[in-house]
């Protein structure tokens, strides 16, 4: 039988028992809707996690440190790194910074700026960790709901403070600190050409206190007035955080211009090239997450140690795969029940249409024709059930998303999309529905095709 004849006859047969077939199709729709709903939730949560992580700057960032300072925790890697002489390991200096910037795929290389500073505000002094932020950090999710604004430029004498710190400055009305001025007291690094001692500490109120040193530098206490321009709830991911969480943020270029002293300066004193400016860590921003591995490999070839979140996300991906599997199995249960309804409907149809099957065989239908006709009916129910199920599942998703956002809104939280129905899921759900329906149609179709035409024609 030709395909169009098959489909025409199948459609006609389905219309003949409209109510029963519609109810069976509705059963399949509910099954598919449940499957789509579950998998959409899984996909939505995965998207949400990916969105959050990519906005956090975790995925497109590579942290570069010198083998002088940090060693790999992984035992196998450590074994390799042990062979490297600390004194001969490449320093993370300006030359390295330039080299890193030339690696294909690298957008920006900036030093990891983080130091303990003293902040004076309204006649009170507060201690706080200060971190530098590049202009590109503006894209970080931490600035999504910020109060005030981001830095006007990379060198603007401005500060953004963390909400808890703003509360320290003004407990009653933390928002009022925006537009106010604070004074940051910091240690400035001053080169000491010709000095023989490795390092010296000086106070600009008493320059004679300097101990001097050839390759070393002086440390001078300085103050920098900064205008508070914004408040953020939490620190953007700008560093490894192993040192500490920052509460005051200033433009990183300003930090460099002011020559603010870093921990790495102290570490530099003990190295062979004492007094040279080195960095504790350089933050390399990569064009896309897909290029992180390639950049990491290139950085390692230059003789540095790298760290990115890419390895950590492998575990996350595994988690979502398992979650999707469980949600899929749970969602398929309803479809399994629906498949029993298909078997029931088609077995009933075989019984009811017994005589019709006998007539068809008597006028020339083969066993295969009868079998394919029942298969086509099962497949058509699967297709219709799949399409309606996807629409229903999508509707359920929209409703739950709406409800979730309403709930989030009442708690002053930003709206989120926790539901995603990607195109592959829609087509896969419809395909799965058809396959399940065809499997369910196997037994009734075989039963119909095996009917003895003589017996079937006698059936009243």
């Amino acid at each position: 039988m030709k395909s169009y004849d098959l489909l025409e006859l199948a459609g006609r047969n389905l219309r003949e028992s409209m109510l029963r077939n519609a109810l069976t199709t509705a059963g399949i729709s509910i099954g598919v809707a449940s499957l789509v709903a579950m998998l959409s939730l899984g996909a939505g949560l995965q998207d949400l996690a990916n969105r959050r992580l990519s906005k956090s700057g975790l995925f497109d960032t590579v942290y570069v440190t010198s083998l002088r300072d940090f060693r790999e925790s992984d035992p196998d890697q450590r074994k390799q790194e042990r062979k490297v002489d600390v004194s001969k390991a490449r320093a993370l200096d300006d030359a390295a910074r330039k080299d890193l910037a030339t690696i294909p795929g690298v957008l920006e290389v900036s030093p990891e700026v983080r130091f303990m500073g003293e902040v004076r505000y309204a006649d009170a002094t507060h201690a706080a960790f200060v971190a530098g932020l590049t202009q590109s950090a503006k894209e970080n999710e931490s600035f999504d709901g910020m109060k005030g604004r981001f830095f006007a430029s990379a060198t603007a004498p401005e500060a953004i403070v963390q909400l808890d710190f703003a509360k320290d400055l003004n407990e009653k009305d933390p928002n009022s600190v925006i537009g106010q001025e604070l004074v940051l007291r910091y240690a400035e690094r001053q080169s000491m050409a010709g000095s023989s001692s490795p390092g010296a500490v000086a106070d600009d109120s008493n320059p004679n206190a300097s101990l001097g040193g050839g390759g070393g530098f002086s440390v001078v206490r300085k103050e920098q007035p900064l205008k508070i321009v914004g408040i953020i709830e939490q620190e953007p991911f700008g560093g490894m955080r192993s040192i500490s969480r920052a509460r005051v943020f200033i433009p990183s270029q300003l930090v460099e211009n002011l020559n603010m002293m870093q921990y790495s300066d102290m570490r530099g004193l003990t190295g062979d090239a004492a007094g040279e400016k080195t960095y504790l860590a350089l933050v390399v921003r990569v064009a896309s997450a897909g290029k992180v591995q390639q950049v990491q490999d290139a950085v390692k070839k230059l003789g540095y140690r790298t760290f990115s979140i890419l390895d950590a996300t492998k575990g996350l991906r595994r988690f979502f795969t398992v979650l999707d599997l469980f949600l899929g199995i749970f969602g398929s249960l309803a479809l399994a029940v629906a498949s029993l309804a298909i078997i029931n409907t088609l077995v009933m149809a075989v019984l009811e249409r017994r005589r019709e099957i006998g007539i068809m065989k008597a006028i020339g239908a083969s066993d295969g024709d009868v079998k394919t006709l029942f298969f086509a009916e099962a497949g058509a129910m699967g297709l219709l059930g799949g399409v309606f199920g996807v629409i229903l599942g999508w509707g359920i998703g929209r409703a739950i998303n709406f409800g979730t956002n309403l709930w989030l809104q009442r708690r002053d939280m930003p709206p989120e999309t926790i539901w995603a129905s990607p195109l592959w899921l829609i087509f896969a759900a419809i395909g799965f529905s058809i396959v399940v329906s065809l499997i369910a149609g196997l037994y009734p179709a075989a039963r119909a095709s095996k009917l003895d035409p003589v017996q079937a024609l006698r059936y009243e």
């Binding site: 039988m1 030709k2 169009y4 004849d5 006859l9 006609r12 003949e16 005589r355 019709e356 006998g358 007539i359 068809m360 065989k361 008597a362 006028i363 020339g364 239908a365 083969s366 066993d367 295969g368 024709d369 035409p453 003589v454 024609l457």
Partner: protein
């Protein structure tokens, strides 16, 4: 078993047994029968004599327990299920006592159905179906459902359906059994035209001897699954 192309139908020691519990029912028992191409044969006998079973064996709807049945030179016993359906589709056409039309289909759809199984192109079907219905004088009733037709009209639709694929043999199982004598006569005239105009071989099962004598060329009497006597008849038209 050698082929017998000189016969439209040739049965040799043909048997069909059924088991009912421990009892064996010999529905067709060692029947040998030949039907020449273009011959009109009537199978007569009481109920349960085995005439419908013999017709089903010729139609390829049933398989023989023993013996052989050759139709159009091919032994049905050696045919696969697929080949038997091909045989039912193109070699034989069947007409039943209870018409066996599909009630949910229109007259047109019922007659068109064998063309679908024969994979005839849709474009040529319309004309073929119309011609078949015109032949049985039902060209104006194509969109009616079987329940909207009289018994005689339904049987004519059934004949149109049986003829749609131009088979060489028409098998009719009590074609007038559900009709009054006048309508039955009309149906028999249609069947006779098939025999005379289209040169089709006709095997008709009936228990009405007068009808058989009037239209058939040969009468075959069956009892208890066996052919008991055969006699040549002198159909009305020949007279």
């Amino acid at each position: 078993m050698k082929d017998t192309p000189d016969f439209a139908i040739h049965a040799e020691h043909l048997s069909r047994y059924y088991t009912l519990g421990t009892a064996v029912i010999r529905s067709v028992d060692d029947v040998s029968l030949s039907v020449a191409p273009g011959e009109f044969v009537a199978l007569l006998g009481a109920s349960g004599s085995g005439k419908s079973t013999l017709l089903n064996l010729i139609a390829g709807l049933d398989r023989a327990t023993a013996g052989s049945i050759t139709v159009g030179g091919r032994n049905l016993a050696q045919m696969s299920s697929q080949e038997l359906s091909h045989h039912r589709r193109l070699t034989v056409g069947m007409v039943f006592q209870s018409f066996n039309l599909i009630p949910s289909m229109t007259v047109f759809e019922n007659v068109e159905l064998p063309l679908r199984f024969a994979e005839t192109e849709r474009s040529s079907r319309q004309d073929v179906v119309r011609q078949a219905l015109d032949r049985v004088e039902l060209g104006q009733r194509i969109s009616h459902r079987p329940t909207e037709l009289s018994g005689g009209e339904q049987q004519r639709v059934s004949i149109a359906r049986a003829l749609i694929n131009n088979p060489s043999i028409l098998l009719a199982d009590e074609p007038t059994g559900n009709l009054d004598s006048r309508t039955g006569g009309e149906i028999m005239n249609v069947i006779r035209r098939c025999n005379q105009d289209l040169k089709m071989t006709i095997v008709m099962v009936t228990h009405e001897r007068s009808l058989a004598e009037k239209f058939a060329q040969r009468l075959v009497f069956m009892a208890d699954g066996k052919v008991v006597t055969q006699s040549a008849a002198e159909p009305e038209l020949a007279r």
